[in-house]
């Protein structure tokens, strides 16, 4: 049974590394799935975990968070702070029963155009396997009389 569900995926990326990496994917004309929309941030340190909650509440099926490799950060420590936040946030979400396989974290440098394409494609396939993200959407309708 060919699964042709087209997941909606949002990507929160940092401007100096992953956004530039995605630019490189473009200039090297590497094709990847159209399901991902990129939102530009100055640094991964700027990405607020509440945005993930809002994305899922609005019906996103998957989220990609990507930024500079450790020690590459243009602002020296933005990605280190982000890493700490995601370590705690991921385990808290799993503790409260939310399946974090829909969220992909990665480091993509400005030179890794191919890696960006690969991340997008693998994420789209994995989310397609997981199917539409219902649990979170249902949540936003329960408890209203």
């Amino acid at each position: 049974m060919e699964n042709n569900f087209e997941p909606k995926i949002v990507a929160f990326v940092c401007n100096w590394c992953t956004y530039a990496g995605a630019d490189l994917t473009g200039t090297s004309r590497i094709k990847y799935a159209t399901n991902v929309r990129i939102i530009r941030f100055p640094c991964t340190g700027r990405i607020d975990y509440n945005l993930l909650l809002k994305a899922f509440a609005q019906g996103a099926d998957g989220v990609i968070v990507s930024g500079c490799h450790p020690n590459d950060c243009h602002y020296t420590s933005g990605n280190f702070h982000a890493r700490r936040r995601w370590i705690v946030f991921k385990q808290m979400m799993e503790y409260m029963g939310i399946d974090m396989r829909r969220v992909k974290f990665s480091w993509v440098s400005a030179a890794e155009g191919a890696k960006w394409a690969d991340i997008v494609n693998t994420t789209v396939n994995e989310i397609r396997e997981l199917g539409p993200s219902q649990e979170y959407l249902e949540m936003s309708r329960q408890g209203v009389a």
Binding site: R84, W86, E94, M96, G97, Y136, M139
Partner: protein
């Protein structure tokens, strides 16, 4: 109890403090916070194992600050809270007197070092039922945990008693009161409750000293203390940092180590 009354009387009469924040008899067999500013009513203070609410929450309340330099009757977790508040620039150990009672011996802690020594000597011990709850949830699968928390949180009606009772929730305009943009839905439907409780846990990660006041305060009996206990557990396990031990400590979430490790960022 006598030693406490004596010490309170001395402090008030000497003018070293203008108000004693302590526990007094409440309605029925309950205990309520009392604010004693006259020496003769020092005997209203009581001290037994019913005294569990975290009184440090009153140290930042404008109406109490107006009363002058406070002394506070402190359980070990209150001492840890005060240390954490000092490390977050909310308090200075120079302008509060912390009274700790160990089998009827009252001692005054008035500087960072004595507070830290006392805190180090009194690690937090969870009551058995909490230990059991922690174990039960740890053994649940992710689906079971989802159902458990959805079921528990469905009772929440956003009265914010947990926020009000927590001494570390001292923001004058909380994230939830922020409507441009509305980060946390005001309505108490499943999404609004989830967003509130995960944000509360994230904000207390590495800061909560696990005093349990939030669980006590919740009128509908949701074990929300488990969320902040889990957040602190994650911070301790991942970054080896514990709140409420050092007055000059950098909070775990506002610092980092280059060698922090994780397995999920590819």
């Amino acid at each position: 109890m006598q030693a406490l009354h004596q010490k309170a009387k001395e402090l008030l009469e000497s003018g070293k403090v203008q108000v004693i924040i302590g526990y007094g008899d409440g309605s029925g067999d309950r205990v309520r916070p009392v604010f004693i500013s006259k020496a003769e009513s020092a005997s209203d203070l009581i001290w037994d194992d019913r005294c569990r609410q975290n009184l440090a929450v009153y140290l930042n309340k404008p109406e109490i600050k107006k009363l002058g330099v406070p002394a506070i009757v402190a359980t070990p977790v209150v001492v840890k809270t005060i240390i954490q508040l000092i490390s977050e620039n909310q308090l200075k150990s120079s302008n509060i007197v912390v009274l700790v009672v160990d089998n009827d011996v009252v001692s005054e802690l008035t500087d960072n070092a004595s507070l830290e020594a006392y805190s180090a000597g009194h690690p937090v011990v969870f009551p058995p039922f909490v230990v059991k709850e922690i174990k039960d949830i740890a053994e649940m699968s992710i689906q079971q945990r989802n159902k458990y928390w959805q079921d528990e949180l469905s009772r929440c009606f956003k009265c914010y008693a947990c926020r009000a009772a927590c001494p570390l929730c001292y923001c004058e305009r909380c994230l939830t009161d922020n409507n441009q943009p509305q980060w946390v839905c005001v309505a108490s439907h499943a999404q609004g409750n989830f967003e509130w409780h995960i944000n509360r846990a994230m904000h207390l990660a590495g800061r909560c000293v696990e005093c349990g006041s939030c669980t006590i305060a919740c009128p509908v009996g949701i074990p929300i203390g488990l969320l902040t206990i889990e957040a602190s557990r994650i911070v301790k396990q991942e970054f080896g940092q514990e709140p409420g031990l050092h007055c000059d400590a950098d909070s775990a979430m506002s610092s980092f180590k280059v060698e922090d490790t994780e397995t999920f960022i590819k």
